[in-house]
């Protein structure tokens, strides 16, 4: 009788593999884990989009929980995302910093003037160097940064109501509570 049970081992192995592979079917290959979660924002020194004389650095972003949003005028999904960012900006929950990624300055400024500007500040990453250091592989991408300037979460793709409510906002509340506990503004 014992020997009969041994015969079921291949079946059990097969089923286990089947379940494993079936689960894999529902993973989104576009959602790569960021290698930077838990690490500080890479050091950078870049011009402000609207004003080339103002320099923004990674130090600028420290002190409060913020959202970094990589966008460009050539990116259709960014246009889709834009109205929702406007809504978020009006609610004034946290500063949203824009990284204008491999874009033309004049085009980007014009776009914001026409469609509205949800960004606290816009970093002009013309060469895409900051994007490269952030591991950006498309746009839009958004990074949740805590008050110490540590990247806590990366979301690739446009932010919409579902992503905001289910993923981002709960994390932001948690991070802001942490920031408060540690005495940051």
């Amino acid at each position: 009788m014992k020997n009969r049970l041994v015969l079921f081992i291949p079946l059990i192995l097969f089923l286990a593999m089947g379940i494993f592979l079936y689960k894999g079917l529902f993973l989104n290959p576009q959602q790569l884990d960021s290698a930077l979660e838990g690490k500080p924002i890479p050091a950078f020194k870049l011009e402000k989009l609207e004003d080339s004389s103002e320099i923004i650095t990674n130090e600028t972003l420290k002190g409060q929980v913020s959202l970094l949003n990589v966008w460009a005028t050539w990116c259709p999904s960014c246009k889709y995302e834009h109205p929702y960012l406007m809504r978020l900006a009006r609610q004034d929950i946290l500063p949203i910093y824009g990284i204008n990624y491999r874009d033309e300055r004049a085009l980007a400024v014009r776009e914001l003037a026409r469609e509205g500007d949800p960004y606290t500040k816009n970093i002009f990453d013309h060469e895409g160097r900051l994007g490269l250091d952030l591991g950006v592989y498309g746009a839009p991408e958004s990074f949740l940064v805590d008050h110490n300037g540590i990247i806590r979460f990366r979301y690739a793709g446009p932010i919409d109501m579902r992503v905001w409510k289910e993923t981002l906002y709960p994390m932001i509340q948690e991070l802001q509570a942490q920031a408060k506990a540690e005495g940051a503004s």
């Binding site: 291949p10 290959p29 790569l32 884990d33 960021s34 290698a35 930077l36 491999r102 895409g128 490269l132 250091d133 952030l134 591991g135 950006v136 592989y137 498309g138």
Partner: protein, 159 residues
């Protein structure tokens, strides 16, 4: 003579065609030397484009792949080692960019799984064959009753 010329022509043609077949988009980048070029191209071939996912950095035309390709070329020309360049890539884009995953705790299953499965299969096969043999040897001896039964059945058919 004509055949000879034809043969040489065909050979030359095939050599040039091999040349074009392995040609890669080196963009407009000028390497310091041929060794650097070879090493950089090999490296870029072994790294996956994070955006297109099914192509390596050389095959892909996406802007990200172009950037990363150039980055690899420049790092090679700057005298950086392979491990340093791979570290640069994985610290930004994660293990994903490696076509050949590194051997570490979370990839043991990936590396050793097939070997374990093969050994397991061989073991089962071995046990199975051995059992077959043993039971086969036993079956050759029939008990007296069985032999009588068999004889009876055979006789019935013969009638």
């Amino acid at each position: 003579m004509k055949a000879f010329i034809g043969l040489v022509g065909a050979l030359l043609l095939s050599i040039t065609m091999i040349g074009t077949a392995v040609a890669t988009p080196v963009d407009t980048y000028e390497f310091k030397n041929v060794d650097n070029q070879k090493r950089a191209l090999d490296l870029a071939h072994s790294l996956r484009c994070p955006q297109c996912q099914n192509q390596n950095l050389i095959d892909s035309n996406s802007p990200v792949a172009q950037d990363l390709r150039l980055e690899v070329y420049q790092m090679v020309d700057a005298g950086k080692g392979d491990t340093e360049i791979i570290e640069f890539m994985t610290s930004r884009y994660g293990e994903f960019v490696l076509y050949k995953p590194r051997m570490e705790t979370k990839t043991y299953l990936l590396w050793l799984g097939p070997i374990v499965l093969l050994l397991f299969g061989l073991m089962i096969g071995f046990i199975f064959v051995r059992k077959q043999r043993i039971s086969g040897a036993v079956e050759q001896e029939l008990s007296v009753e069985d032999q009588a039964e068999l004889d009876k059945l055979l006789n019935r058919d013969n009638k």
